[in-house]
Assembly symmetry: C2
Homo-oligomer: 129 residues x 2
């Protein structure tokens, strides 16, 4: 029994604006909510999860365009051997990219720590005088 909701509730619970939801629909990042004859769109919990996943991917620096493929993988389970193979290849590529980012971010962290160390030692010296 899916909790039918309209765009207002969906957007509020996802922490985005209605405009954002419609924007994602318009560029094919979200499927448009099902209509009910009269023109209004209705959404499910899955729509909500999808919005949250998009938000998470954004934080990782992906553009809406780059996200499209990945989001598909999360919410459409591909049928057919061919599309499953494609999905697997895509996922492996994304794993590699993620590892690359993790490594760069780790290096950046090291640099920050080193700078912090410099400053801390400078202050320690001063206090010891």
């Amino acid at each position: 029994m899916d909790k039918r909701m309209r765009i207002g509730e969906l957007a509020r619970r996802a922490g985005v604006t209605q405009r954002t939801v419609r924007h994602y629909e318009s560029i094919g990042l979200m499927p448009p909510g099902e209509r009910e004859g009269t023109g209004q769109h209705y959404y499910t919990e899955e729509s909500l999860e999808r919005l949250r996943k998009i938000d998470q991917l954004k934080k990782l620096g992906l553009s809406l365009d780059e996200m499209r493929e990945v989001v598909q993988l999360y919410f459409i389970d591909p049928s057919g051997v061919q599309s499953k193979r494609k999905a697997l290849a895509l996922l492996r590529q994304h794993l590699a990219e993620t590892d690359q980012k993790l490594s760069e971010l780790g290096q950046f962290r090291g640099e920050i720590q080193s700078l912090i160390g410099h400053f801390e030692r400078w202050f320690e010296k001063r206090e010891g005088e």
Copy 2:
């Protein structure tokens, strides 16, 4: 003896366009190259490092605006106790943010791997038949 270079070489070696360099100067992210009477700007190896650092920070998802402070810390060593304290506080904040990102990225990595696992098991089953 600093290898004086002009904007063409600088941009080429940094892998960006001249327009990009000028843009960074115009928003105060890079100091404008020193002029030599006639109007032309001259740059040093430090300018190059700075451009590369900016590029690195961009990959980590920082906006040019957010970058400004961090880049300062790398290339201007703050004089005076007050500014040193401020720098230290800033660096610690950036360290915390970086750790947060690292954790999120790690979680994302896990999700990707899990998805890959699903697909791989599916293929194994099929072959075993």
